[in-house]
């Protein structure tokens, strides 16, 4: 219909009814409906189908686009940095500024967490294993001033930033993570080291952690300046009702 109205397809008649055109337009419509309703449908699939995939002995179901990580970057590039070149700066309202190497992080007491990872764009990866250092331990090592009330994180991708209140930052389930599923954190997942904020949506878990700055008040991060909630609790923010992680 579209092609004909543009005069592209000739009016020359072949016999038969235009079923093909209806199929074509139907699939276009399906795509459009999918964009609008996909959020709800994907949520349902992540809740109801993802657990089945984990028990599929053939592994074929793992090909389905459910329960898996998608890699997002805001710069379009994946910043690469080897553990040898990695530095983590801790500054702002602290007693002593720190400039930690990757080995310094490894030398600190480690914590492991296994939690679902929930993205604000709908996908959820069940039971992901993380290992890293509690952010609280890093902050204590630097010594937070009394007037410090929030923590700001900057990525070495050159664009991304995030922030937490000091109270959130001191939770047991907030890590500077360097292992994912028992393996060194790859660049795609934010390696060598990233933030992992277990109870919040993925955008709070900043990748490629470059620096930690203690500030007086919360400075909204990259997505928060673009409309996301600053307190990104899973299931209690951004107008979503996902099960808590």
């Amino acid at each position: 219909m579209l092609l004909r109205s543009l005069g592209v397809v000739e009016e020359r008649a072949f016999e038969g009814t235009a079923v093909g055109r209806r199929v074509f337009l139907g699939i276009l419509g399906l795509g459009a409906v999918g964009v609008v309703t996909g959020a709800a449908v994907q949520g349902w699939l992540e809740r109801n189908v993802a657990p089945i995939i984990g028990h599929d002995p053939t592994g074929l179901l793992a090909l389905l686009p459910i329960g898996r990580f998608r890699i997002y970057t805001v710069t379009g590039g994946l910043p690469e940095r080897s553990p040898d070149d990695y530095r983590l700066r801790v500054h702002g309202l602290v007693e002593r500024e720190l400039d930690l190497s990757f080995d310094d992080l490894l030398a600190m007491p480690s914590t492991e967490l296994v939690r679902d990872f929930q993205c604000v764009t709908g996908w959820r990866v069940p039971k992901v294993g993380w290992k890293g250092v509690r952010l609280r331990d890093v902050l204590d090592r630097a010594g937070v001033h009394d007037d410090g009330g929030a923590v700001r994180f900057v990525s070495f991708d050159g664009a991304y930033s995030e922030s937490l209140t000091l109270q959130q930052a001191r939770r047991d389930d907030v890590l500077v993570a360097y292992e994912l599923e028992g393996e060194a954190l790859s660049s795609a997942h934010g390696g060598p080291a990233r933030l992992y904020v277990a109870p919040m949506y993925g955008y709070k878990s900043l990748k490629w952690l470059r620096s930690i700055e203690v500030t007086r008040r919360v400075v909204p991060g990259y997505w928060e300046r673009r409309g996301y909630d600053v307190d990104g609790w899973v299931g209690r923010s951004n107008g979503r009702d996902d099960e808590a992680t």
Binding site: R12, G16, T17, F24, G31, G34, L78, A188, G227
Partner: protein
């Protein structure tokens, strides 16, 4: 080969002209690039194997934006007469097309230039390409759309990708099982015998001769 002895030799028929073949193969190549780079971006084990994520992403986006060009260029000029006519054929379903879907009646269906599977495949892949382009643009330039649409675009891009993999796999499997049909898309021509037996109505359109005229003699006692 008694049939060859009975039948006077007939020249091959032109099935796809240069423009149609060029559009098919450039589009097929772009589809291939998109599917492979897509897999490299999306499938964990392949991602690890291939790496080069930046490069994969750039190639994927450029190939995606290029995808409609061969088709549009092939379609718009006066060189696109045959492509336009074939599209018109592909969008129509005849009475015989409908009986073709029923196993019992498939043998008696007298098909035109394309069988219903080819028609369905064209329409699905054509529409899916547009859907992928649209949802892909939303994923790439995410700041122009609301969050819920981004979620939906992710959902649509994922599931349509799966559908495209299945459709393309079936398409290639069937094409490699019919060497003459494949020859038609590679070199442009098919044998008259193929046309007469597999696409009788098209044979009649092209040659003006009835496709079944020797049926009596070959079906003798």
């Amino acid at each position: 080969m008694t049939t060859a002895a009975i039948r006077p030799p007939e020249p091959d028929l032109e099935r796809f002209d240069r423009v149609e073949r060029a559009v098919h193969w450039t589009t097929a190549a772009l589809f291939g690039v998109l599917m492979l780079t897509g897999a490299a971006l999306y499938m964990g084990p392949i991602s690890t194997l291939v790496g080069r994520r930046d490069l994969m992403r750039t190639v994927h986006v450029v190939a995606g934006l290029t995808l409609p060009l061969p088709f549009i260029v092939g379609l718009v000029g006066k060189w696109g007469v045959r492509l336009r006519r074939d599209l018109s054929r592909l969008s129509r379903w005849t009475h015989d097309d409908r009986s073709w879907w029923r196993r019992g009646r498939r043998a008696s269906a007298r098909l035109g230039k394309f069988n219903p599977g080819q028609k369905l495949n064209t329409m699905f892949l054509g529409a899916a390409a547009i859907v992928m382009l649209g949802s892909g643009v939303m994923l790439k330039w995410f700041s122009i759309v609301p969050l819920d649409w981004r979620v939906g675009a992710t959902f649509v891009h994922d599931w349509f990708a799966l559908g495209i993999w299945v459709a393309v796999a079936v398409h290639i499997f069937l094409a490699t099982n019919d060497s003459i049909a494949l020859h038609g898309m590679r070199h442009g021509t098919v044998t008259a015998k193929w046309a007469r037996t597999k696409r009788p109505r098209w044979y009649e359109e092209e040659t003006g001769r009835p496709a079944d005229r020797f049926k009596q003699s070959t079906a003798g006692p």
